[in-house]
């Protein structure tokens, strides 16, 4: 492989930059692939250079490490991949006294060693005698790129797709030739599309106008940002009036392609805004829905509602402490526990304070404000004032890539789904269970319900517990989105009240629709007004809205609601 086309791609002033090294790795691999020879050459000379390169890794200097990685690739040793992988994952160590490099798994204070030369067990040793070989961003990028070329032959199509995408991050002549070689043998559609997009981008540099035109046509409708950048570059007029693309036909085709890409991109951006709005709305609804019960059904203004959410979030933290090996399940376990914890505290508040204050909604506000101060301070005393780290389970991290212009982050997606589930369960509880019947009866006519034998006190306590428990559940969701600290609750309380009032007190559907529409409006405004102004505008709109419809979107009707 020659490096003639290098100047087209090289990053100026970054020698021996990551691309350079990646290229070397690819060059070697291309050879292997083209020859179709994936056997392991184990010549003695290679072993020696491999061993030397390994030795060069034992340094603190990142540039030196990067060179050593290049040497490792050049050595073409069978264990190169394992070593690079270990370096990327931070399991590569060197012994302090003789600087020998090992792959190691940490076990408490000791290390289980593996000799990279032979991949055989090298016993265990004291961790303090070894130093971990660290990486930095550039080095990691190089490593990933190098490893990707190994992965192109992986049996798993997803791994291959990831490898192609990784290679496209730093496209050059070598990676192009690897991709070209792969294109013919690739069976998977998605991977093949990705490869052809990559090749088309490369073909934009072809000297042949026909090839360029074909490439442009291939890229039509592609949402790859690199494709967009390259196409835009073709039609951008330089200062001297010339174009990067000399051929008029290609330029026109590029304009058409860009036009279509633009349309698709703005379409997906609208979708994205809608999703952002819905996810923000879901958070608002989750935070507000417990309040809709305590406030709407019981007429209690619970200023400690935010603190109950905070308790839910802390519950998640404690659960994770208790089951550190099962972070994935911890969040699921936390949901019922948080419901019970927050609900229990809610019942205590109701029995201890609220029940003396029914019919005096404004005073419940003051008393619960006091409760919120106390709860915050209790949490501060137990968990300190610092935020607590709540881990995101692997299944909630990352995003669902619909295409290259639109992806949905999993945590937000789950929050939307979670909110819908909570909402549905709540509706079921209120509509289909005897508790729900009693709750609604008490809400509509307390005296009548009482005279019909409903134990209103018991219903009050359970209703308040239900509302509080849902706040706790909302806290679990919030722990995945934001800080878990003593102030968590305060940031949501005003928004929650707004949602309930906007939707119409006493109406859960109102809360749902109110919260969702506030979320969407907020997100729709944000690109134009900025985050703060969008929020201010939403607040002002809300104030004006309430003047027009003092009882919200879906007011409770009838004479009973008048007072």
């Amino acid at each position: 492989m020659t490096n003639i086309s290098c100047t087209l791609f090289a990053v100026p002033g970054a020698s021996p930059g990551p691309l350079f090294l990646a290229r070397r790795a690819l060059g070697w691999l291309a050879l292997l692939l083209v020859v179709g020879m994936l056997a392991r050459p184990a010549a003695a000379a290679e072993s020696t250079s491999f061993e030397q390169a390994l030795g060069h890794l034992a340094t603190a200097n990142f540039k030196q490490k990067e060179r050593a990685v290049g040497e490792l690739l050049d050595a073409r040793h069978a264990n190169t991949r394992a070593v690079l992988n270990a370096l990327l994952e931070g399991t590569l160590y060197y012994r302090k006294d003789d600087r020998r490099v090992f792959i190691a798994a940490a076990q408490d204070a000791s290390l289980r060693l593996l000799d990279p030369l032979t991949m055989s067990d090298a016993g265990t040793a004291e961790a303090s005698d070894y130093t971990k070989i660290t990486t930095n961003n550039q080095l990691r990028k190089t490593l990933k790129s190098a490893l990707a070329s190994f992965d192109l032959a992986d049996p798993d199509a997803n791994v291959r797709l990831a490898a192609v995408n990784e290679l496209m991050r730093s496209l050059d002549a070598d990676s192009v030739s690897i991709l070209r070689a792969r294109q013919s043998s690739e069976k998977n559609d998605a991977v093949r599309t990705a490869i052809s997009t990559g090749l088309a981008i490369a073909d934009l540099d072809s000297a042949d106008a026909a090839v360029r035109l074909a490439a442009v046509e291939q890229l039509e409708g592609s949402l790859n940002p690199e494709a967009f950048n390259r196409l835009s570059a073709l039609v951008t007029k330089a200062d001297d009036g010339s174009y990067a693309e000399p051929d008029e036909n290609v330029r026109n085709a590029a304009r058409a392609a860009l036009n279509e890409i633009d349309n698709w991109r703005s379409f997906y951006r609208t979708l994205e805004t809608l999703f952002f709005g819905l996810s923000l709305g879901s958070v608002l609804v989750l935070a507000a829905i417990g309040l809709a019960i305590t406030f709407g059904v019981m007429g209690v203004i619970n200023m400690a509602h935010g603190e109950l959410m905070m308790l839910g979030a802390y519950t998640t933290y404690v659960i994770q402490l208790l089951m550190p090996q099962h972070i994935g399940a911890s969040v699921l376990v936390a949901i019922p526990v948080a419901f019970l914890v927050a609900g229990g505290v809610g019942v205590l508040i109701e029995r201890g304070i609220m029940r003396f204050l029914y019919g005096r909604p404004l005073e419940t506000l003051l008393a619960t404000f006091g409760v919120s101060l106390v709860l915050q301070q209790i949490v501060r005393d137990i968990f300190t004032a610092n935020n607590r780290p709540v881990e995101t389970p692997a299944w909630m991290a990352g995003s669902l890539q619909i295409n290259e212009a639109f992806s949905i982050t999993y945590n937000r997606l789950y929050v939307v789904l979670f909110m819908l589930i909570v909402f549905a369960i709540l509706q079921l509880v209120l509509k289909k269970t005897s508790l729900g019947l009693k709750v609604r009866a008490v809400a509509q006519n307390r005296a009548m319900a009482k005279s019909m034998g409903v134990r209103t006190e018991w219903v009050d306590a359970l209703t308040f517990g239900l509302g509080s428990g849902i706040a706790g559940v909302a806290g679990v969701a919030l722990s995945q989105l934001t800080n878990v600290g003593p102030n968590l609750g305060q940031s949501y309380i005003i928004d929650s009240f707004m949602v309930v009032v906007f939707g119409g007190v006493g109406n859960l559907w109102g809360t749902l629709i109110g919260g969702m529409s506030l979320g969407v409006v907020n997100q729709a405004l944000e690109p134009y007004a900025g985050a703060v102004l969008a929020k201010i505008l939403v607040l002002i709109a809300l104030i004006l809205f309430i003047q027009r419809r003092p009882r919200g979107l879906f007011p409770q009707k009838g004479r009973a609601a008048e007072n």
């Binding site: 002033g13 501060r380 935020n387 940031s491």
Partner: protein, 429 residues
């Protein structure tokens, strides 16, 4: 109907009398005021600093105190409430008559107490990196000025990482505003074009970053290496980094360098999405020096928690405290005027290596370190300045302040204008 005198006023009078009596005693100790929020939003950061000062006082008393007198801490809680900061400062200076105060975190709290310290001729050690544009006779700034944190960080990104396109994202308050103004001017001076700079401000505690991160992603996909300089404050960081991680923006593609994210903040969050992102500080807990190892050991023993971390503002308090002790011993007095005069030129070792020296502008010399976040919430130092960087109170990159200089030795002025040859406002002698 007969009604009685509300009891509160009487009680107030009695309590005021009691407090004055308390202030009168205990003259054989040196009082050290601690003015950090123990409740409210800033308690997260400031409580640790209160404990640090208490530990330092404890240590010093074990060594026999200062000039043969024991130190006595007077701790108050300004509760993250800015006017309350002023009230508490006045209480420390006027009622408790403390010799020195260690305190404040936010700029606004410092601004709030500044007139109080100047009026009552108090002495304040301010331990947090800040926006500069200030130099008061009564305040020693032991945290970093913008040229000791922001500018080196940008240099690193520009020269070592090859960043060509810049996102300056910050919380909407004075520190990010000033820092970004300085950086914008600096970047333009280095030839970066307008369209390659994106500036974004968000409110305190901002938690919904979806749109902004999506915009950063789009901005970063224009084919040039993009970096984010984050002056996002405290609580807003966690959701910000989570969103970055979830939208699959890795540190390798778009590195974020933060000026407000330290070990203490990281100990409160799930660090996975942050790994590889950068922070610029003058101290990292992971710095391998004997002084630091000893400090960490002492701190953990004092706080009785083997997992507690240390951070940059703590080091600033250590330096400030040691300097104050030296200055008192040098001046042979705790009298504020004399201590202030003795302070300039005092040198104490940094925990992160090198020597901190108090400059005539009441700022320090500091090493600047760039670290990458590790999964365990610590930093790997990936770059550091060759020598020590002297703190500059007035930025050379802002049109309003490039002609202003602070020198409390020769000029006796915190904002001397070298063009008009005048010393205005801020602090009259």
């Amino acid at each position: 109907m007969r009604k009685t005198n509300p009891g509160g006023l009487k009680q107030l009078a009695a309590a005021i009398a009691l407090m004055s009596a308390m202030a009168a005693q205990a003259a054989d100790t040196i009082k050290v005021g601690v003015l950090h929020s123990l409740s409210g939003t800033m308690a997260i950061s400031e409580t640790t600093l209160k404990d640090t000062v208490l530990m330092l006082i404890d240590e010093q008393n074990k060594k026999g105190g200062v000039m043969g007198k024991k130190l006595e801490a007077v701790v108050v809680d300004p509760a993250s409430n800015w006017p309350l900061f002023a009230e508490k400062a006045e209480q420390l200076l006027v009622k408790d008559k403390v010799s020195v105060v260690f305190g404040c975190w936010t700029s606004v709290s410092r601004k709030s107490v500044l007139p109080v310290f100047e009026k009552n001729n108090g002495l304040l050690f301010y331990p947090v990196q800040y926006e500069g544009e200030e130099s008061s006779k009564n305040v020693f700034y032991t945290g970093a000025a913008p040229n000791q944190q922001a500018i080196p960080a940008v240099d690193y990104l520009m020269n070592e990482v090859g960043v060509k396109r810049w996102v300056l994202a910050g919380t909407d308050y004075v520190y990010p505003r000033t820092t970004n103004k300085i950086l914008e001017a600096y970047l333009k001076a280095k030839g970066v074009k307008d369209e390659d700079i994106m500036i974004n401000y968000t409110p305190f505690g901002h938690s919904n970053w979806q749109r902004i991160v999506a915009d950063i992603k789009k901005f970063g996909s224009a084919g040039k290496k993009t970096g984010v300089v984050s002056t996002i404050n405290g609580d807003a960081n966690v959701p910000f980094y989570k969103e970055l991680g979830n939208q699959k923006i890795s540190a390798e593609d778009i590195p974020v360098v933060a000026f407000s994210v330290g070990e203490e903040e990281l100990s409160g969050i799930d660090t996975k999405p942050l790994v590889g992102h950068l922070a610029a500080w003058n101290y990292f807990m992971s710095v391998d020096t004997p002084a630091n190892a000893e400090f960490i050991k002492k701190w953990r023993a004092f706080i009785k928690n083997n997992k507690r971390v240390t951070n940059d503002p703590m080091e600033a308090h250590v330096i400030g405290f040691n300097m104050w002790v030296k200055a008192v011993e040098k001046a042979k007095s705790t009298e504020v005027g004399k201590v202030i005069d003795a302070m300039v030129g005092i040198e104490v070792p940094n925990l992160s290596g090198g020597t901190a020296k108090m400059l005539p502008n009441h700022h320090l010399t500091k090493p600047v370190l760039i670290g990458e976040v590790r999964a365990d919430g610590q930093f790997d130092t990936v770059w550091q300045t060759e020598g020590l960087v002297p703190g500059d109170a007035w930025s050379d990159y802002l049109p309003g302040s490039k002609d202003i200089e602070a020198d409390w030795v020769k000029l006796k002025c915190g904002n001397y204008n070298t063009k008009t040859m005048k010393c205005s406002g801020q602090n009259y002698e």
